[in-house]
Amino acid sequence: MNWFKKLKDGLSKSSKKVSESLASLPSLSALIGKSKLDAASLEEVEDALIAADLGTASAIRLATALKSHKFDGPVDADSIALALADGLEGILKPVAKPLEIDLANRPHVVLLVGVNGSGKTTTAGKLAQNWTAAGKTVLLAAGDTFRAAAVEQLQIWGDRTGTKVIADATGGDAAALAYRAMTRAIEEQADVLIIDTAGRLQNRSELMEELAKIVRVIRKLDDTAPHDSVIVLDGTVGQNALSQVKAFSAVADVSGMIVTKLDGSAKGGVVVALAEEFGLPVHAVGVGEGADDLQPFAADEFAKALAGVDRDDSGWAG
């Protein structure tokens, strides 16, 4: 359960801000004894949510929902946070869905896509670690043939986790590599094939076309693959995440997401906006650089941490 601690530690830096700013609502004292929020405090709730990267649309919606919320007791920072956490959990619960391997696929193909520096290669390594530890046979494909030393980076992850890495020299054709890796994985009857790809900005049509080609090539060998097409999102990203998910979905049929770097001060609140807009599953979160720092996404904990609910009674201390 150490990820809860890490996520908690990380998120507490940020979620504190939400609860702190709630606690310091200037208009709050005037609310004592009342059971509804006034306009000024609503706006401040909205600001606090915006500061957590929820984006204006989601923030306004959540704050507006609070307006009609019937508070049981007097309105204070804690009760607002609790009500917010409820609202957030309602949005996030339907998308919390761990990445599961279907052994019938053999290989179950997981394609990792995303912009540069979001953490695809690290995530590939961590996934390999998790599944190898669970007794699965895993193959890694070093599909980032562009960035200098990306192949070496994945190779090191392969060595660490005892996973075979299919790779070409940097500069090779990524689609050809993917094809070769697919062939190998089918021959060897591997349980899982994880294909790492080069980071690409979603507005670069030629690079997105290259990604589309990788998907086409994979489907030549198994038209149900990739079984999971996962976009890796940097937890510090702002509203551009929406554009990323949209563009990558269009070329690679994204089926879910993994959010990385949530052990820092970033709130990852854009996940809420993404859940509302796309409803794509959030599979896991990255909370550190170690191989075991990739953990399933838990909607309730994330919602509580984001809203700044006092974690002592939230039951995630274990």
Binding site: G117, N203, G238, A266
Partner: protein, 504 residues
Amino acid sequence: MFDELKNKLADVFDGLARRGALSESDVDAALREVRLALLDADVALPAVKAFTEKVREKAVGVASMRSVRPDQQVIKIVNDALIEMLGGDSAPLNIATNPPSVILMAGLQGSGKTTTAGKLALRFRSRERKKVMLASLDVTRPAAREQLRMLGNQAEVGVLNEVDGESPTQIAKRALQAAKLQAYDVLILDTAGRLSIDEALMAELRAIKEATNPHEILLVADSMTGQDAVNTAEAFHKAVGVTGIALTRLDGDARGGAALSMRHVTGCPIKLAGVGEKQDALEEFDPARLAGRILDMGDVVALVEKAAESIKLEEAERLAKRMAKGQFDMNDFLAQIRQLQKMGGLGGLMAMLPGIGKMQKQIAAAGIDDRMIKRQEAIILSMTKKERVSVGLLNASRRKRIAAGSGTTVQDVNRLVKQYQDMARMMKKLGGKTGAAAMKAMLGGGMGGASGGAGGMPDLSALSRGFGSGGFGKGLGGGLAKGLGSSLANGLPGLGGKPSGKKK
């Protein structure tokens, strides 16, 4: 980047422009939109508040001024405030009077430190003829040092050798020693990505700073960063005293509000902008240009700079001579298509053109993208040498063959041929013009270009015409800029044959 913000501000000011005078409530209405747009552009709350306050103060005072159209005045105020907030003039890198200059790169994981270090090394070597050494202090991320070594080799600069078991601080000291002994001008220290809340790693960064006394501590930050940009920038600034910010991935479509946020909380200038994956894709950050893009005035300067860098003098002269003789064949056409590709393709160009922001959806809908350019290239490459020189040879059966050879349709081939003919005609017509008038038109077209651009569809051939008339005739540099300018100011009617073909 900033396209949506640009669009939103354009909407606001469209509304203002329709009214005669600017009342306080007009300003408030505009500022509400500005606030939302800035927030949606990931500008952090404190920065948004500071900005809208500044604009409100100035704008309300303006309401009584009747001599200038109020909407224009507000645009100017917003623009000026944006430039001011982004940092006024562009700031150069600090360089030591006694070499080596030490540059320390710091930032979060995946912000682009190593790539930027490599780009910076190339820039120092190629533009300033400096002797540069790269040293990786990243002992955490697998293959990080390997990555920097490869980038250093590509940039043809020195790279500090690796010794196993050293701490980052030890490597830093050894690097400084080596740079001094081997008379390097610049030493660039790449560090491991770290979270601003990781106290141990921030202490390590301070130790590295103390050991090397850097002249420049660059915080490398992703332009896609959200509200956390403030926290990160503040924390790094507090810990090591950042001297400048390098903003990466500005070639993406992120609205880049992080630039304003970080600038606001640290007061540090944004010195560098990463604008692509190639190693030379690093530019000086120009606040005025960025503000111009926010206000939908286009990044014409970048376009012209890019053109000047991408287009070879010999090639320009060769074309100029041929045009003087009235020759312009498919080979020349091909050369121009390829130059466009070198300039970052259509996507890259579009982002820089005035008034394009609002049109991007239309453009996408019309199927105008880099693939179309690629197809055009394929069509020409499927012609025989003879055909390329005399297009008149292209009868139906030849066109069929070319279509088959290039994986296109006969219609595509016809379209290209028509486009070529239009262009050849234009070249003849424009051949004699000088660029001065065009330059004027371009400058005037800066703001007004938006309307011109919105009228017609952008036109590749118009761009090429621009090259042809002012540019190739006059040689490189200014002439080119003028040529480009003329076509920009013309509002770039009808890209290729395609959109106009659709209209017909």
